[in-house]
Symmetry: C2
Subunit: 309 residues, 2 copies
Amino acid sequence: MKCNICKAEALVKLRAHNAAFCRDCFLQFFSRQVAKGIEKEHLCTREDRILVAVSGGKDSLSLLYELIHQGYDATGLFIDLGIPVSSQAARRTVEDFCAKHGLRLIVKELVEDGLDIPTVKEAIRRPVCSVCGKLKRHYFNRIAMEEGFTVLATGHNLDDEVARLFSNTLRWDLSYLASDGPLLPAHGRFVRKIKPLWRLTEFETANYAFLTEIEPHIAPCPYSPGASFTTLKGVLQRLEYAMPGRKLDFYQGFIHRGRKGFEHLAQEGGDPLHDCPECGYPTSGEDLCGVCRIRHQVAAFREAQCSAS
Amino acid sequence: MKCNICKAEALVKLRAHNAAFCRDCFLQFFSRQVAKGIEKEHLCTREDRILVAVSGGKDSLSLLYELIHQGYDATGLFIDLGIPVSSQAARRTVEDFCAKHGLRLIVKELVEDGLDIPTVKEAIRRPVCSVCGKLKRHYFNRIAMEEGFTVLATGHNLDDEVARLFSNTLRWDLSYLASDGPLLPAHGRFVRKIKPLWRLTEFETANYAFLTEIEPHIAPCPYSPGASFTTLKGVLQRLEYAMPGRKLDFYQGFIHRGRKGFEHLAQEGGDPLHDCPECGYPTSGEDLCGVCRIRHQVAAFREAQCSAS
């Protein structure tokens, strides 16, 4: 198998692109796809100050590395969730990676605010995964705003995006469908959010990480055994195998055509946002935002524990 | 395994409905689903004169049989495509079935109009499947209009419907998505079109045909080896296996929520219909309708053959 570009021995075959590449030509292909994804959807410019949420996984580390490589002003943000073993290992991966490449990194420890996941898990009476997601999104946005970043980037790849789009389409969840996509514009105290890897599959980001010698943190979270959307990703993988390129077509068709219908419906209804009276960040609820409600639940739980002892 | 209703030995297990049924209770379940599908979407009433397109397959014969069973005024329509062996066998199946149950049947032979499939296949220079579909849809509508029927019913089941919806969604084909569903209202010289089996899977109609001793014609068309949407049906089957009931949810969610967005977009654009100057039936094209164009192609081909000989 020869590289399509330079005819050297190919290392990576991509059926969706009907192409095979050697190491260097694959890395160029990857860079072009990131650049195309950014330019086509007007995600960001070289004037932006970009905060990149890094978990220690291959996607987010690849994203930070590639943005720097392309000359963007990018800084990593690691949220230390305080999960025993797992958070420490992920943090060390991210810190070592940033030190090795001389990249700026902000670390936020949730334990400082009494909101580390073990504490929250004990206080609430529902699955912790959705709460963990809520906390991370809150701090991503909050730190971006407080530290003067103009945009927050996450490492979601095409498989993540297509699986979520498929899930929302299967349920015809109109409010998600109205705002889904690689760009969520800034709105009040919500910073602009972007997903520059939207054109690249998980297979492609894994190859990129391997070929650039990124060593990601790969231990699963002890509170959540599986990756999200596992079933849907399997179904979509089968579709892609039979019809190479269909995943990217589906996602691109959505952002260029399909979404228009849902945007219109969302304009008709939709909850207006207001500022949370406690933290000041926007929320669609009636009163406190989700994170401040969690904070109160944790405080109430602690108080009950103290009175009981 | 016991029947959920009467506790007799169950014959059919339906994971999507979390139920198992004996023969009689399954037939009642089937009837309820057809009735629900008709009533929920206002497909037709007992005042309608219903023309049921029957191919000889299990779905269309089951549909005709069940509509009669529920007291609807239904008549079968068989289009004899003139395909050697296959059309004769299908026609005999339909004629025997209607004779056995005392059902009214109209047979239209395309050879009368010089449009039998072997002739058309010879004259045109593109795959015959889409032309065959076009001819059938034209004659379904035309015969319904000419014979005073108020509605045309086809035997599309949930698997057919979901596969087509999925295909149109994957491509975000807005014009199809705007009008997809079990009911296409009458419009000018287009009769109302309905799909009363939309709530029932292929597995369920196959069981219904088997348990009511319907003997369908099952030989594949010699011009088309496979069923349509085979890959997508396989992918959706895997999804349904992992998440029972998801196919019906997806389809129902579409007709109740998702479609709204596309209807709005279609109103903005969309080709206006006009009457074909030759046959008088509506077409979105500029001049002759697709069927009259085929008629001209066949005539031109014959003329060329005569001059050559």
